[in-house]
């Protein structure tokens, strides 16, 4: 069994992603805890959520190294879900 040599990281890229995800989750919770609402807040929370899901897909699920088709399916899915949720909330305001 041969171990694959790799460049040692002081802080691994996945650890940076994990810390970013923790920070963005704390931001999302704080927005909810402050009772904030309205269109700009809704769009901001959805943008944060979209960014988090892209990080999970690319760095945790490893899609950043996959072929274009596999990345495109996930990217289109996440963008469609976020956009349609925004549309549903905007319809409710009007």
């Amino acid at each position: 069994m041969n171990a694959i040599p790799h460049k040692p990281h002081f802080v691994r890229p996945c650890t940076r992603i994990w810390l970013a995800l923790i920070f963005l989750t704390a931001v999302t919770y704080s927005i909810g805890d402050a009772g904030l609402g309205g269109t700009p807040v809704m769009l901001a929370v959805l943008a944060i959520t979209f960014a988090k899901t892209q990080m999970i897909a690319a760095y945790f699920m490893g899609l950043r190294k996959a072929g274009l088709l596999w990345r495109a399916i996930m990217g289109v899915y996440l963008a469609t879900v976020a956009t349609m949720i925004a549309v549903a909330y905007l319809i409710a305001i009007k």
Partner: protein
């Protein structure tokens, strides 16, 4: 040439993917993952459009949810997912036991999620809340219970992978099973990352 992402990650170490290269793990799990994402996507949008016809009811009912437990569970699943990433990294470096330990830690956090969720469900049921209470709770309970079942299945898959890793069943050259289990678990995490703001936060 080296470039840097907004997060400061050096892309020089990232090997360029040949066209059509499969994602990590078994191909079948990815077909399953995309089918699951589609089902949850329909569920998420059904919730959002049902809310658009009943904004007051959804906003008032949402205030009665335990946002803290939803946020803690998000942190728990994100961290669990991170542990599983470390498990995959460990087996790629040839450390079977370390891989099994990271998987064990990931499963442990999965159990924390389950316990917190059971307390949350129990609190709602003791208040007399059920699927038929109102449209919001119908969505809240069915969405979170559907996700809960995926957490349980993910833990079973990770446990099977962990036991095999502990026996030295994976190598740096052959560890598709670890990546397959990991990909499924990350999907479970990804779904909660959407579910938490959608049901607990956005109003």
């Amino acid at each position: 040439m080296s470039t840097s992402t907004p997060l400061g990650i050096n892309s020089a170490s990232v090997i360029a993917a040949p066209a059509g290269k499969y994602p990590p793990g078994d191909l079948a799990i990815w077909l399953f993952i995309y089918a699951e994402l589609l089902a949850f996507g329909v569920f998420f949008l059904s919730y959002a459009f049902a809310r658009s016809k009943n904004v007051e009811l959804f906003n008032q009912s949402q205030l009665l949810l335990n946002r803290e437990s939803g946020a803690i569970n998000a942190l728990v699943l994100i961290t669990s997912s991170y542990f599983v990433v470390r498990a995959v990294a460990a087996i790629k470096e040839g450390h079977s036991k370390v891989c099994a330990n990271w998987l064990g830690a990931g499963i442990g956090l999965g159990m924390v999620f389950v316990v917190i969720k059971l307390f949350e469900f129990s609190a709602k049921f003791s208040q007399g809340i059920s699927l038929s209470t109102n449209t919001f709770y119908m969505f809240y309970l069915s969405l979170t219970m559907f996700h809960f079942m995926h957490v349980i299945l993910g833990m079973v898959i990770l446990a099977a992978v962990m036991l095999k890793a502990r026996r030295g069943g994976y190598t740096p050259e052959n560890h598709t099973g670890v990546e397959t289990g990991a990909s499924y678990w990350h999907m479970v995490d990804l779904l909660w990352i959407i579910l938490f703001p959608l049901v607990y936060v956005i109003r």
